[in-house]
Symmetry: C3
């Protein structure tokens, strides 16, 4: 889920001109990342690969909730993503957007953004 505009809104309200922000997901079966947001096929292909590489059921998995794959994907992609801020705007490449990655949903989720700088 592309959350670039929500992150940019938070930046406008947070008032940092030069520094960085950490986009942080307080959930153990979800993550955040930065990747291409112009072309939805990239998201499709990334989820396809992740779901094949980390299958939901794997011989030897013990976790009773049956969502070990979601936890593994969360740590592979990572809970937090750092974005740079210069002259009051995000430093993102032409094709880059910030994503929230749901690996065990749909669920109601929260994302924190912390800004640091001046």
């Amino acid at each position: 889920m592309d959350i670039t505009e929500q992150v940019r809104d938070s930046l406008r309200r947070g008032g940092v001109r030069d520094g960085l922000g950490v986009v942080y997901c307080p959930h153990t079966t979800a993550a955040t990342t930065i990747n291409e947001h112009a072309e939805p096929d990239v998201v499709h292909d990334m989820l396809l690969w992740l779901n094949r590489a980390v299958p939901q059921a794997e011989p030897g998995f013990r976790h009773g909730e049956g969502n070990s794959d979601s936890h593994i994907k969360a740590s592979l992609i990572g809970s937090g993503t750092t974005v740079l801020v210069v002259d009051g705007d995000l430093v993102l490449g032409t094709w880059q957007g910030v994503f929230f990655c749901e690996f065990d949903g749909p669920r109601r989720r929260t994302v924190h953004v912390q800004w640091l700088g001046k």
Copy 2:
């Protein structure tokens, strides 16, 4: 290895009320991450998957020390993990804990935590 309490101790000593911390591992065959720490089966399943996905011996591996898998896992999970701090406490979800991930041990290891904010 769950190091959440050690990170919280460092926060109390470091004196940051609002900002962030970076939990950093200066080793090339270990990493840090945030994931579920209430249920040890999640750790078990994650290590099981990582050890299958990145086998110790792989045709074509050249590294003489025979621990290329540990280096690869280190970069997949990442050396550093950022934790947010609000009102003097870590911003962690209900099930989240901070982990040191040993991929080539047991060894004596060091973890640095740097706090930034006010």
Copy 3:
């Protein structure tokens, strides 16, 4: 590509004595990481594994540019890497170096480094 010296140069010019830096890659098919830079075989083995684990063509991939694998590797390794700074120098382990990871090159690329602290 080992960019440790370029990051260190940036630190010298940026003037931070105590804090952190974020090495950030504004491209969706490249990444940054920290790993062993004394032994080139580690880089070789990591790329070998990544190229096998994330093949260029995978049944079901839709992205028309044919480089979904590069995007997936970018999110697995991550766009940004945080390095700590203490006493005016990078906190790196004996074998650690900072790497720019090209997954869809060769191309002309940019890396930003943002320093924060005092």
